[in-house]
Amino acid sequence: MEIKVIRKVLDVNNAMAEQNRKMFAEKEVFVLNVMSSPGSGKTTTLEKTLSYIIPEIKSAVIAGDICTTNDANRLAKTGVSVVQINTDEFGGDCHLAAHVVEKAAGNLDLDAIDLLIVENVGNLVCPAEFDIGEDAKIVVLSVTEGEDKPVKYPLMFRVCDAAILNKIDLLPYLDYNKKEVLNNIRQVHPGMPVFELSAKTGDGFTPWIDWLRQRIAQK
C-alpha cells in the first residue's frame, strides 16, 4: 500500500533559514555566507576584508569548523566579535545548517552590527545545499587549486552571488591557466562577478570591497 508523502527533505532546514532571514531583516543585519574548499585562504581573505571595512561597517563573524578555534582566534584579533561553531558537537557536520547559525547568532549583539559574516566549513559540496538565511553567498577559490573546480562542483558556483579568485600573487610561480578557470566559472554561472585578488598582498581588493559595500547598502 502506497502512502503519498511529497515533502522536501530539507524543509526543516529551509524553514529555519527563513526564520533566520526574518530575524536578520528585523535587526537590519546583512549576512554573508562565505564558502570554499579547505586551504583556499578564506580566513586570510576575511581578515583583510575586515581591515578595509571596520570600524565604519560594524561587523561580527561566525566561524564554522569541525574542530579547533584557530580561525576564531585569528579573526578576533581584527577587533570584531567572533563566535566559533565546532560542528563536532553536531555530529561533525561538513556544513553549517540554519539551526546552528541561529544558535550562534544568539551569542552576538545583532543590534550592534550591520554585517554578519558566516565563515562556513571548508567544503565545496555540502554547504551549497544548506540555506542559512543569508543575504548573499560567495565562494573563495584559489589559484593553487585545479582550474576545473567550478565544473567539478557546479552547485556551489551556481548558488553563489560572487566568486573570489585568491592568491593571485602566486601566479608567476604556477602553471595555472587563469583563462580556463574564468571560462569554467562563466559556463556554470554566466555573469557572476569574479574578484581576482591576493589576501596576502591586498592586490585587487578594491572591486571586492566596493561590491560588498554596495550589497550591504542595498539592504
Binding site: 502512502i3 515533502r7 522536501k8 527533505v9 557546479p154 556554470v188 554566466p190
Partner: protein
C-alpha cells in the same frame, strides 16, 4: 558527505508519515526523487539509511531513488533542454540567463507499507 544528515531527515519524514492506525507496520519501500544537481550520492545515502534505520519501523526498507535530470529554460529565447554537463549557457542564443526547472529535487514522494490484510 552530508548523506548521514539527509538520511536522518528522510527517516523522520517517513516515520511521521505512517498513519496512526498502521503503527508498527513494516515499511517496505521509500520512494525518493533526487535531482542530479543535488549533491547526494545514492549509494552513500543507502548506506547511511541502512545504519540509521535499524530498530525503527523502516528497518529493511528499500530506498527507491528516481534520479531527476537537470532541465533548464533560457529566459531569453525560452527553449527548454536537458543538460548533461554543467554548462549554463543557452545552446541556441548563448544567453546566460538560465533557469533550472528541475534537477535540484531532494524529495520524499511516498512510502510503501505491507498490505494490512496480508500481515
Amino acid at each position: 558527505m552530508h548523506e548521514m544528515g539527509i538520511a536522518k531527515q528522510i527517516i523522520e519524514i517517513a516515520t511521521s508519515s505512517i498513519p496512526d492506525d498502521l503503527e508498527n507496520i513494516p515499511v517496505e519501500k521509500i520512494n525518493l526523487k533526487i535531482g542530479q544537481m543535488s549533491s547526494v550520492v545514492p549509494d552513500s545515502l543507502r548506506f547511511c539509511f541502512e545504519i540509521l534505520s535499524k530498530d525503527t519501523p523502516l528497518a529493511g526498507a528499500e530506498l527507491n531513488i528516481e534520479e531527476i535530470p537537470v532541465v533548464v529554460r533560457c529566459m531569453e529565447c525560452n527553449i527548454v533542454w536537458t543538460i548533461n554537463k554543467p554548462v549554463f549557457v543557452c545552446k541556441k542564443c548563448k544567453s546566460g540567463s538560465i533557469k533550472i526547472i528541475s534537477g535540484q529535487e531532494l524529495d520524499v514522494v511516498s512510502i510503501e507499507v505491507a498490505d494490512p490484510d496480508t500481515t
